[in-house]
Symmetry: D2
Subunit: 401 residues, 4 copies
């Protein structure tokens, strides 16, 4: 046993295939559909891209082999998802975008056989999209999950759900929802939460509006959704009742890391655009790329990307080993999200006036990347959790001595 | 003689009137016209807002008194322009936006009587808009003005201009241009440049396209303009031949500072939006505004804004005293532009998911503010100039001893 | 009335005289006495330097004219104290160091005639040094003054004081103390505090030890002092009973600003050492000072120093106008302390291996400057106060509308 | 083949043994010898500690097994050296400090059998110390190795060396030197350099002075050394003539990484001191460790340490795989050195006044860590190299397409 950071050759080849696929099939249509694909109508484009991805052998590489995927573990997803992230539509094209990717991951771990056939199979195949309905408007569960306000009460043969959710990615046009609702306790204490499955057209589910955010590439948008007397039969309870917080952790750690992977791809792309620019543009008596202040920005981008990648590998390995990796995922997410913003900001700066224009994709990428410091737990919440654990560990060591 | 940082009461009152005007007349229509006003058609809206500003006594406060303005000096412009900057359309409404404000300033200093009546008077009154055509596409004069490529050659009774300009703010719909062109020397050496006046409809002037940048509030956009055999008679030479670089300095220092003033207003607005949010939103057992990590961001915003304002006052005072204020304006510009980006970024972060959505103006303000680190000299160019002067001063002291 | 940032000629001349005095009389002995002067024996050196400062006309420029000083207001002290701060012993030489300078300021505002003759006069003349005994070891008054633990109880004709103080600058060898003790309420609530005057040799005052910190230039050191049944007669109560918190504010705001002034001088010196180095040292095919990454550090130093100076002027002007300037002094102190650390750190970096050696004064200056981010209120406490006030102001505006 | 970040059990146990050894035998004497051990007389202490380390089974774990070491590869050294670095004398105690550790590494790779017996064997056993004489005073080889000025000229049966070296760690008391001298070409062009072995008492070697830097724990100090007509016989040429630059790379990459490992240990220690402090100290109505601004600093320390460690693992793995790892080592070194400064600085800040005092080891650790941003290539030089390679790679990709 000794440290090894290399990938098996299948993964190395898949990365190369993914890079080629993005270059050949996704980047050429990226500008065309930017903004439009958000709406539910964007599913036509998605299906076209999905078909091409299947043909290229790069579709849904994370899905279980039995459902047509390649069964990549977390460490292996990292370079593939990064390659896909070079285009903001790459994840949609490969069907590895949020929230579907995380939902596939979660269903593969928790769903029973019936649910696997009914929900996981069509999702893994890209026949439908899905949504994960957890976060709520204030004073409900935002960054603080204990505030969960959406209630599920027992009815004959199942549950009746009432509540409002916000920032539900992909809700518009979702084939089904995974709904997290409180099944015991009161908002503010932890109590118990449960995961429910429900088709998108179930009575009482209403997509009220799109929240227009700076990122535009997630199909189905970020929506406000109301659940009014939504009835879910017992057979659509996902896993056990009152175990929702635990399952959320099963989903959130890996989903956080795949976010890092995909957005890493966007940051790398921004950096490459800047590298090409500064290598070709003349000014101040030479190439921009030979000027010290530019070299500093180039180097800082390289350092940021390398560190984010190294932290990601660490967290993925811990997850693959079966751990919760709470610290490692919080650290990789927080560092990554902040690093990517820095990388794309420096890339814009290096490209001068064009950097803030639509002539280059940088400003758009900056707007795609900015929300990641907030989505999936704002940096402040992750830092709070990291600090609490660190102080707690230190106390344990101290009091043990 | 002793240090005094207070304003005369007329200025204090004007600030209050400006704040009221922005709140009553500009913010209500801001969302409606965002994006549209960029096009030349936006002049209808501009004229309406200008008329209201005149009625409110806040129109063109920087213009010479003889042309209907209030004749504010630079120090006095600072708080007024900041108040106007609270709305991205405030500067248009008060007719103190770029490039008109700087062009009024420049014409007031250099134009002869005929030019004052023909160009300055209608510009000061808001009857027309103007453009300042200096920056060029690579390998011409971008951040490095010595690379000036646009040529003016002597013809009978005047000059004939050929060249391409880029990022010409307000060009679409401009009543007239101030064109900077090389009249001696070669691109790359300094040589001599001259300023020329020309009506917007002069033969040979072509607005080729808008460069779509992240900022959307400057009327007339940022354009690429071609000058093909544009003839300018001698009487429309602005100032003396070959003195263009010197005049550019007359314009650039103050124009840089009024940019700081206006964008300061946008940063202050973002900060206020965040203050209201964190004071009202609950989470983690209390108000967000009582959490240490939020307080740190609030305090850092306060510090950044105070420092930017203090540096601005210093630079304005030096300009009002008649100095070039090269260092002071470079420092205030560089610090301000970077500080404003930090302020709006923290403001977004404090507002969580809504901070990156169109529900709040923050993401839009971030996109308005980002280019200022590039426009008017990228931070890197200012730092290069600041450092060269600092090292030069130290050498002088050392070798004198 | 209009903004003016210039100084009267007397101040301009005093700055020049101070620079000359530091260069001629203080810098030459700085290395010799570094470290030693901290001990009480350092007073011999201090008296020699004070005599020279008197001869040069630069002694105690802040002291009231009636006590032999020049009566400079806060704005005027700024450039003079900065000039003195170029040497870490400059403030001692001019008798404008902490805590004497602040104690002179405080006594001039609060002391009665008898106290002025007995305490202020010899202090202003430099015949004695003084200490200000406020901060306490945990769980007493450290960064949080409400935790004041030292108690003064009423005895016949006066008060009896018991308690422990920590980080009492200049205690070793102090001619007298100003002691802050609780006269009503309990530790943890605000209650009332009172200021007491006591000669250094009063029974019951014991200097227990020096706390050895990274800064080495404050004469009399930073000490732990115990007060055991120290009796203070009523005539030595400074100001009114139970008004100590208010008086502390009178002292702390200005004292904070003079700290900024003096340490600004040290930061400026570090920057100048680096400027000379990078202008003369060759490497990588040219002068270091022509390399972009060096220029960036030079420029960032210039920006940091300019911003700190501009914030300082703002705060001093507010104090001179009679305000508490709570925000302005907190902001200037916090920004200044952090900026000075950055400046000296960059200066070290620019000088390479020599920068971290005793061949240059930079590493020593870094150790002198580092504590200022903690002394006089850690940055965190100032940020907390700044944020609370900012949120409070925003709430007031919001609820007024 | 798949990613694995775990260590074999022998390494895990060695880490535990090292932690115990540092706690039991090194930390107790650390304060006693701080500062003194630098001088050559410190070798007595070193021999005592070395003997204890041998008894504890933790001595020279990186040395080849045939020379009594444990033959750890780079990945395996990382956690062991980090554990040793908790005390600034830990590396000396384990005989894994600079420059001996790197010299063992280099000799193991390059030395012939005779040289292994004569130089490597006693060095690995700790019977002697060694020095690596490469860097020179300006205008010689400092951060820029091409400027190599020390010349070796051919004499009968060997070489004669003349030149001056600076910052030669461990020179005072070194049993032998590895001297890098120019054997072809001129200073400024690359030419050829050669490595020479010479006993410390060889005629013509003079240790002129110690350069007193902020770090105090490297035995033998950082010295200026003059080589005057130093004769080295052919059998003491290390490796091949004119291959010195290549060998320097063999040494520098790994040596850079072991620096990161050791100083990581110091940063971790600082962080732990702060964790204990903020968990126990009360203030502002609770434990400091529960305040948001403290939590932010705790979390940022955790993130910085995790990222530095992750980058280190990456670089070590590349080195173990036989690569040059130029990028990975530059990135890990640059990020690590800067991160460690941030970590110790935050740790000081969290501990308030005590943080800058000798009551806690933090200020001392800060002074130990600061030079690492300069030693072994300043951050600026590494960034320059990183940027050049990044731009070069981008150009290669672009021109290939």
């Amino acid at each position: 046993m000794s440290i090894d950071l290399s990938h098996r050759s299948e993964v190395v080849e898949l990365v190369a295939k993914t890079e080629a696929f993005i270059a050949d099939h996704v980047l050429p249509v990226e500008n065309e559909f930017h903004g439009d694909i958000t709406a539910a109508g964007g599913d036509d484009v998605r299906r076209e891209l999905n078909a091409k991805a299947k043909a290229a052998g790069v579709f849904a590489p994370h899905a279980p082999v039995e459902f047509g995927g390649l069964g990549l573990n977390m460490c292996e997803r990292a370079p593939v998802f990064e390659a896909a992230g070079a285009s903001t539509f790459g994840p949609v094209a490969l069907h590895i975008g949020a929230p579907d990717e995380g939902n596939v991951h979660m269903l593969a771990h928790i769903a029973d056989d019936r649910q696997r056939q009914l929900y996981l199979a069509p999702l893994a195949a890209g026949d439908v999209r899905s949504a994960f309905a957890m976060t709520e408007p204030s004073p409900g569960a935002g960054a603080d999950p204990n505030a969960l306000n959406t209630m599920a009460v027992r009815v004959d043969g199942g549950w009746k759900i009432n509540g409002r959710k916000r920032f539900i990615t992909g809700a518009d046009g979702a084939g089904f929802y995974i709904i997290m609702a409180r099944t015991s306790g009161e908002a503010g204490d932890r109590g118990g939460a449960t995961m429910f499955l429900a088709p998108g057209d179930r009575d009482g589910i209403s997509v009220d509006r799109h929240i227009h955010t700076t990122d535009k590439s997630m199909i189905g948008g970020h929506c406000e959704v109301t659940f009014t007397d939504v009835v879910v039969p017992d057979e659509d309870v996902l896993g056990a009742v009152d175990e929702g917080y635990r399952y959320a952790q099963v989903r959130l750690g890996p989903a956080r890391m795949t976010h890092v992977m995909r957005w890493m791809g966007s940051a790398v792309r921004a950096h490459r655009v800047a590298l090409d620019y500064v290598d070709q543009r003349q000014g101040f008596g030479g190439r921009l790329g030979d000027l010290g202040m530019i070299q500093q920005q180039v180097a800082d981008n390289e350092i940021d990307l390398a560190a984010a990648r190294a932290l990601l590998v660490r967290a993925c390995w811990e997850l693959d080993e079966g751990g919760h990796a709470s610290d490692a995922t919080s650290i990789a997410k927080t560092f990554g999200a902040e690093a990517f913003s820095r990388v794309v900001d420096r890339s814009m700066q290096m490209c001068g006036g064009l950097g803030v224009s639509e002539d280059l994709p940088l400003a758009r990428l900056a707007n795609e990347l900015r929300p990641f410091r907030i989505y999936d737990g704002p940096s402040e919440v992750h830092r709070w959790a990291i600090a609490k654990r660190a102080v707690g560990r230190a106390r344990k060591v101290r009091t043990a001595n």
